[in-house]
Symmetry: C2
Subunit: 200 residues, 2 copies
């Protein structure tokens, strides 16, 4: 146990997900997770503040990636374009953990306390994106509206990505959700009613 083990963070995440699925989230302890990963509780707490946080350790990285992407978009890029490009640029990060993302999503859907944490992380992401947009000269109220719209696209794209049997990447689905939003706001007469078109 004392020997240094590589990829401790990732192994703890994998162990936690496996145990949450096998025993249930509520019945898994930090000790169980550490033990399954071949590590100590002490090591666990070096990486995570609590059991719940194992599922959210990627959130600050994701937030920084997206906020920086918005800030660094070429001058003159329209605000929503800057946001959707930044969202699409996270695709490799998600692609590397498709299986993790799927399992994580099921757990979040099944446990209210995880769902609440997810809402807080998304609200934090929206605030960070709005701040980046303000840094680009977008006025506060418009920046918030664009940021919240970006989150709506992100959530929609993520659901499509998780469900996509063809395994197209998140950037593909961000573009698809953005096109849908364009159609939605173009006020066409009820384009989805009784349509057979698939939005997956």
């Amino acid at each position: 146990m004392a020997r240094w083990k590589p990829n401790a963070r990732e192994r703890l995440e994998q162990a936690a997900l496996a145990l949450f699925s096998e025993r249930g989230y509520a019945r898994t302890t930090v000790g169980d997770i550490a033990s399954r990963a071949g590590l100590t509780e002490r090591t666990f707490f070096r990486y995570f503040t609590d059991k719940r946080e194992v599922l959210f350790s990627g959130s600050p990285v994701l937030e920084k990636l997206i906020a920086d992407g918005v800030a660094d978009a070429p001058p003159g890029t329209a605000p929503l374009e800057a946001v959707t490009a930044a969202l699409g640029a996270t695709a490799p990060m998600f692609e590397a953990r498709r299986s993790f993302a799927k399992k994580r999503r099921l757990l979040i859907a099944a446990h209210a306390e995880l769902g609440e944490r997810e809402l807080i992380k998304l609200a934090s992401l929206a605030a960070a994106v709005a701040k980046s947009l303000e840094g680009r000269g977008v006025a506060g109220p418009a920046a918030s509206l664009v940021a919240e719209t970006g989150i709506a696209i992100f959530k929609s794209a993520f659901e499509r990505w998780v469900a996509d049997d063809e395994q197209r990447d998140l950037a593909h689905h961000v573009r698809a959700s953005t096109r849908d939003l364009e159609r939605i706001t173009a006020r066409r007469r009820s384009p989805w009613t009784k349509s057979r078109r698939s939005y997956a």
Copy 2:
């Protein structure tokens, strides 16, 4: 104290808001609130499960009003149109409590636990709107995207309404935010950068 008093719910809400502003949210007890309202703690708990809930007692009413509004929109109404009309139809409810809404908003911004409860209520509202849209024949993924977009409009409109010195109603600001969103998604080249146009 034993005598029946009219408008107990509203008086408890007003007392709570006054005390939260005077003493701070954390230092106000349920006993303080009941006493200020001239009622007993027992009466308080007939209306609210806890201190926090005093600020959210309107949420289920609001959710039902909006979800029913979406469900009852005339056949053929485009999905986002159904949502924005339902949001606008809540204007009288907000107009009746402009001062309450403003104070409530400041408290929520200042206390993380209230902000989290607000996020949960908005997520519940989005789910209810999506369900109403599905009932109208809108496919699941599109229903969620429209519902989340509606919440983005609602948040934006609410902020404008609170800040509006001309006291125009929430329906006015829902229309203004919807127009902004249409402009945003029409991909124009950075319409807000260095613009002097006011979005209030």
